[in-house]
Symmetry: C2
Subunit: 260 residues, 2 copies
């Protein structure tokens, strides 16, 4: 069994912690990393506070193979991710020549004046020394990688475009596979003991049990999800889960329940 | 200025880290705490791994006034939050008499047999010694508080009901107020310098700048959000933000842009 590299996601921004903005990046990043055989093992939502960003980056870059960050790389005063990453690595935060030249040309051409590439926009072309650019097809401002830390935008469609650039550069393990069986009318308390036996028989898999309520006319029930890198083990475990559901009078159905 | 107590949220569950489940609890909890004058300062999504849960709980309960957890208190093998909290506090994980009696009566009456209150369901009435119950109107299984750690369900409607029980028990500061002005057609790079001056003039406020793209026929723009506990400071800062937008040829509008 090849080892699965680990990742940690830092979601940087007061707006997520205040409840103003619903994060839409975690689930997307988790699925994309999983397809590449990289396991997202932790995510943290942290505020736009320098000591917190610097301390957290330095903690998690030691613990995980990869650290991805989202948010805080725009032009305003609350966009401090980039300079905090430089501080975390103890390197200068300086003009990145390639990003600088490209952004200067873009803004001057668009607005027809050299003043368009103002101090705020110049901040987006200022990066930790040694950073490698993460380009994207949507915004002129790039993300960047330094060491094992990958710095992405917070706006979902820009983040997603940057992630597509980044993913092929990350070494991954075998893809993380998943299969779901859903039992309508099933109760967790009824299947729990049998399910624990299946988990014990397949220690290399991650078996999860997720109850749901009132889904698309199908009512309540439980979905059982098996995740792992070995297809044969997933099939064997899920055959036992199906038998378990049938022994409780429930016919298992493939996949997730309909949305609420 | 009265101090604002801090809080940290631990979202416990492999299903959030794998991207299977979109967390729907963080934003709700953040807003409800803010109304009570408690500031959510960090959130972490962690897996169903005992060492991780125990270590994280013991780290954050020292750093924040309150710790809330969601997830992992159901009846199945992957529901390990409760026993991990007991381990974190170094107390026995044992039958909670009140929860036990209530749940036993419920299941036996519902199913007409003593066997209905099986080992899996008994786990939901097993708690760290010294736990105080957090009842809710929706599910028979309660959450609990031990020390400054408040353990809630992961299913949103059950979590929300438990939170309503919990909130009046938490001491809060003055409510965290918020006001938003939106400039359609405005660009962050144009307003950034002026906005930084306003932030410097009002260090007690948290001024955020949030670009948006293609919202409900209104196109692109920027929302400026001021948060703080002093209403007069928010009004004064936002008057300056409005003037700033007007100087850039944009008429500010109250509130957030329409959904995407």
């Amino acid at each position: 069994m090849t080892a699965t590299p680990t990742a940690c996601l830092l979601i940087i921004g007061n707006e997520v912690l205040s409840g103003r903005t619903q994060d839409a990046n975690l689930a997307h990043i988790a699925r994309k990393l999983g397809e590449r055989g990289i396991a997202l093992r932790e995510a943290r939502v942290i505020p736009d506070v320098p000591e917190t960003i610097i301390g957290t980056v330095n903690e998690v870059r030691q613990k995980f193979a990869h650290v991805l960050t989202t948010g805080g790389i725009g032009p305003t005063h609350d966009d401090i991710t980039s300079e905090c990453i430089a501080a975390a690595f103890g390197v200068p935060w300086e003009k990145q020549p390639e990003a600088w030249a490209r952004m200067e040309a873009f803004y001057v051409q668009r607005d027809g004046t050299a003043e368009a590439f103002n101090a705020a926009r110049q901040r987006m072309a200022t990066m930790p020394r040694g950073a490698t650019l993460i380009d994207n097809a949507i915004s002129i401002a790039p993300g960047f990688t330094i060491g094992n830390v990958h710095v992405l935008a917070g706006v979902p469609r820009i983040m997603q475009a940057m992630l597509e650039t980044l993913l092929p550069r990350l070494g991954g393990g075998p893809p993380i596979l998943s299969r779901t069986l859903t039992g309508y009318g099933l109760m967790e308390g009824a299947i729990a003991a049998g399910l624990e036996e299946v988990q014990k028989a397949f220690p290399g898999l991650d078996l999860g049990s997720y109850p749901f309520y009132g889904r698309g006319g199908r009512g309540n029930g439980v979905s059982i999800v098996a995740k792992g890198t070995e297809a044969a083990a997933i099939e064997a475990a899920m055959a036992r889960v199906a038998t378990l559901m049938q022994s409780l009078g429930v016919e298992p159905e493939e996949g997730e329940p309909p949305p609420a």
